[in-house]
Structure formats: structure tokens, C-alpha cells
């Protein structure tokens, strides 16, 4: 959306304190999580989060390809975050770019922090994230989808990994920015929480925040993660407590 730079900044916060889509500052976009929509993968999940649509699949633990990545004492976790060409306003050229590679790396490391990888020496756990429709916050949506997919694949881990971004809109700290807010926002702080320990295993930040704002942002993010965590658990309950019906949604 670089081409719209000349246009006026839209009104991001109403006098009543409501955001562009009517949310309060501490409110998440609607989230729908479906566990196990794919048949080929060992585990999968589809996440619709605001206007994001993200599919994740997990294969493994399985034999490592390429072989030189094999680790003698634990499973390697390989993550590929990929955006479909049509997932953004301006068509993205297919293939890996630097942004995708960085996101893949930090997501893989977040999962390495919670997966009991030493139970599967010399194997690979492959996590694939496909962004089909992007509207800010795709790395968090991808991480949430991948985490549910890992659980669906029966991978042992410390906990599920809820994730959300906190940002700054019209000078105010706000939870879960959508695209317009992100484009004109003053800061972006994506994070992933291990609810069991209360610690963060993914944390990035870009923009301007005072230490005090950052502190409040962390609290707000943790609060958001906890709400998402409940939805992740519910998605898994729904998959395994009902008989499998013909697939709906992808």
C-alpha cells in the first residue's frame, strides 16, 4: 500500500474511543479456528482472523530432508511461512523473500522453545504456513494456526502458543491492529505467549513507544493471548469430540 502515502490519514479513533471497525482499544478482531481441515497432513488448522485467512499443516516427526540438517539428539523444527501471490493488494511474486524467511525463522524458534523435540532424535517436524488472505497480523495468525496444527499432529509440547500483535493507534495502545491501523499506526509489537509459564517466545517490535507504553502493551498482549488460547483449545475439543462430518470451510 505504499502508493497511498500521499492520502490523508483516516480517522483511526473516534471521539468515543472506538476504532475504525468499531472495536474498543482492547478488543480482538473476530477469530475462527478450525482444527484438522486437511487430509494429507499429520495435523492442520485453518484460521480466519479478521480479514486474514491462514492455513497451516504439520508433517512429522519424520525423516529429515535434506539429511545434513539432522540433529543427533532431537528433532529439527523446520518452518516455512509463505504468502500466496493473491493474498495482498499488490500481487506478491511467488517464492521466498527476506521477510518470509525471517518470519519462518522466528516462528520455528518459538516452537522449538515449547516442543519436546528431544523425544524424536534425528527427525524433522515440518511446519507449513500458507497465508491466503492478508490483513495485518499474519505472522500471529500463522503461528496460532501452526500451533493448533502441531497439537492436531500429536506433537508433545509444553503448551499451545497463542499470539497477537499490539500496536499504537492515534497515540493509544491498541490490541490486534487491522491493515488500515497498521499502515498508519505508530508501532507494532507481535508476541507469542506460553500460557503455562507466562513467558513470551516470540517478540518483535517496530515503531515508537515509551517504556511505559511498552509495559502496558505487554500486559494487553498477554491478555489478548489468553483469550486466543481459549479459542485454540475449543477448536481442538470440537475436532475430537464430534464425529468427523464432511469438511466445511477449507
Amino acid at each position: 500500500m505504499g502508493s497511498v502515502g500521499a492520502k490523508d490519514v483516516p480517522v483511526l479513533l473516534s471521539p468515543e474511543g472506538l476504532r475504525i471497525d468499531g472495536r474498543r482499544l482492547d478488543e480482538l478482531r473476530p477469530i475462527r479456528i478450525q482444527a484438522g481441515p486437511l487430509h494429507q497432513a499429520d495435523g492442520s488448522a485453518f484460521v480466519e482472523w479478521g480479514a486474514n485467512k491462514v492455513m497451516a499443516a504439520v508433517y512429522g516427526p519424520r525423516e529429515v530432508h535434506p539429511r545434513h540438517l539432522q540433529q543427533n539428539h532431537k528433532a529439527v523444527i523446520q518452518c516455512k511461512y509463505n504468502m500466496a501471490a493473491f493474498s495482498v493488494d499488490e500481487r506478491k511474486r511467488p517464492g521466498l523473500d527476506r521477510r518470509s524467511q525471517e518470519i519462518s525463522k522466528v516462528i520455528a524458534e518459538a516452537f522449538e522453545s515449547v516442543v519436546f523435540a528431544e523425544e524424536f532424535p534425528r527427525t524433522s517436524i515440518d511446519v507449513y504456513i500458507e497465508v491466503l488472505q492478508a490483513n495485518a497480523g499474519t505472522r500471529c495468525a500463522g503461528l496460532v494456526a501452526a500451533s493448533v496444527a502441531l497439537a492436531d499432529a500429536g506433537i508433545p509440547m509444553v503448551d499451545l502458543l497463542p499470539a497477537v500483535a499490539v500496536g499504537k493507534v492515534a497515540g493509544q495502545i491498541a490490541l490486534d491492529l487491522k491493515k488500515e491501523e497498521d499502515n498508519f499506526g505508530e508501532a507494532d509489537l507481535p508476541m507469542a505467549l506460553v500460557p503455562q509459564s507466562g513467558r513470551l517466545v516470540l517478540l518483535q517490535m517496530e515503531g515508537h513507544m515509551t517504556p511505559e507504553e511498552l509495559s502496558r502493551s505487554l500486559d494487553l498482549g498477554v491478555q489478548g493471548c489468553k483469550a486466543i488460547y481459549e479459542k485454540m483449545k475449543q477448536a481442538l475439543r470440537d475436532r475430537y469430540t464430534t464425529a468427523r462430518l464432511p469438511a466445511e470451510g477449507p
Binding site: 499429520d42 516427526p61 525423516e63 519436546f116 506433537i155 509444553v158 475439543r237 475430537y240 469430540t241 468427523r244
Partner: protein
């Protein structure tokens, strides 16, 4: 209680490490996984496919995290070095037993023992390894129901690979019964359901090659208005249970 399989302990609290069903068997509290790849146990009988022939062993895909080497000494054959492919080819299916598990993740298997060997005919159906107890049933009751109503022969691998032999018709009917178990595996009354399905679709009186499509048969046997049944012997699902103090 003590931490069993599928759990871990932090600061005096026990947590689930896998998505599964709580299984309290004092003094252990375990979580039985509902999904995932086959995790080998010594003594398990499994069905595998040959993926590679090396000079003194074959590699088998048994649906586990790693391929399992079957050494020539674990077979009834006198195999000369470099002649492994005279006995088993890539794509051949075999029944083997898990013999050893090493810290490296290596899975040792053998073909020496009763009921083990190469599979020559029939077909292999793959179900989730978590469903195998349901497929077998109490004391093998489910398998007996399926084989006696279909005339098929079956061998169940603990790894979720199930061999079915017999006429193509018998194989297909046994497959359909297994599909039912895949779909309704978490519900109680499964055994009766499968049996009534097999009885209602028994066509021994009809003869002739014409069969109604599977879908119709399914609908007849399992009306959608069947009330949901209680979970029976299974504990309610509590995935990723946290912060429960034990």
C-alpha cells in the same frame, strides 16, 4: 499422582504434553494421545513398506517418526551380502515386530516369529494409530465382528496399518467397516453400530455384481437422527489441560 506418558511436571503441577484423553491409573496419571504418528513400543506387531534396500538390511516405513531397519539376520532367509533385493523390493509390504528402541531413535524390527513375514496379496488400509484399540475391540471382538460378517482375513498392525485379505468384495466391505470406525471412533456403542451396518449391508442373498453405492448403504445403516451417545469408557476430552493441581 506421578507423571505418566503424555505429561510433564513443573513446580509440583502436572501438565498434559499431548492432545489426548486423561487416563488416571494410580499411581500414574497419563494422557492418551488422540492423534499423531505411530510411536513404536518394543513387542508391537506392525505392518511396513520397504522404502530402500541396502547391502545388509532393508529400510521400512512403518508410519513412525523414523524408517526402521530390518537386518538380514532378522529374516528366515539366508541372504548373501548385497542380495537383499532378491528377497524384498521397494514397495513390498511386510509384517514385523518391533524388537529394540534406541536412544538415537533407531527402531530395530524382526521378521522372525509367528505371523510375521511378507504380505503377498490383499491390501493395506491406514487408520490413525490412536484408533487401533477401537479397531481391535475388547479381546479382539471388533475384528471378529468384521471378519465373520465379511469373510475377509485381517491382520492389525499397532502402527495403524491394517492388512485385509480375501475376495475383492470381502476386502471392500471390511474397508467400509474400518472407515466407520475412523469416523465414529470416539463414540460408545461403536461395536453394535459396525455390526448392524455389516448385517444391513449383507448381500449374500442377492448375488450378482450390482451393489448400491456405498453412500446409500451408509445412510441406511447409520441414520443421522441417531442421538449422540455418552462417551462410555472414555474420559471427556481435555486437550492441553493446564493448571490442574494434582
Amino acid at each position: 499422582m506421578k507423571p505418566g506418558a503424555g505429561t510433564y511436571r513443573v513446580g509440583g503441577k502436572l501438565y498434559a504434553s499431548v492432545l489426548g484423553l486423561l487416563s488416571p491409573r494410580p499411581p500414574f496419571l497419563s494422557v492418551v494421545p488422540l492423534s499423531g504418528r505411530y510411536i513404536p513400543k518394543a513387542g508391537d506387531t506392525v505392518i511396513g513398506t520397504v522404502t530402500d534396500c541396502q547391502t545388509t538390511f532393508w529400510l521400512l516405513d512403518i508410519g513412525a517418526p523414523r524408517w526402521a531397519p530390518l537386518h538380514v539376520t532378522g529374516t528366515p532367509w539366508k541372504v548373501e551380502v548385497g542380495e537383499t533385493d532378491h528377497y524384498l523390493h521397494v514397495g513390498d509390504a511386510v509384517v514385523v515386530r518391533v524388537e529394540s528402541l534406541e536412544a538415537t531413535g533407531r527402531i530395530g524390527v524382526t521378521m522372525l516369529g509367528e505371523g510375521l513375514g511378507k504380505l503377498e496379496d490383499g491390501t493395506i488400509v491406514i487408520v490413525s494409530p490412536a484408533r487401533i484399540p477401537r479397531v481391535v475391540g475388547r479381546n479382539g471382538s471388533m475384528i471378529q465382528t468384521i471378519t465373520s460378517h465379511t469373510g475377509a482375513q485381517m491382520a492389525v498392525g499397532q502402527n495403524g496399518r491394517i492388512w485385509i485379505g480375501g475376495s475383492p468384495e470381502a476386502i471392500q466391505r471390511a474397508r467400509e467397516a474400518l472407515e466407520m470406525i475412523e469416523e465414529h471412533g470416539q463414540r460408545a456403542g461403536l461395536s453394535d453400530r459396525v455390526e448392524s451396518y455389516l448385517v444391513s449391508t449383507d448381500r449374500t442373498g442377492e448375488r450378482g455384481p450390482e451393489r448400491p453405492p456405498t453412500e446409500t448403504a451408509h445412510r441406511d445403516a447409520v441414520p443421522h437422527e441417531l442421538p449422540p451417545e455418552p462417551a462410555g469408557d472414555l474420559e471427556p476430552d481435555e486437550p492441553e489441560t493446564n493448571s490442574d493441581d494434582y
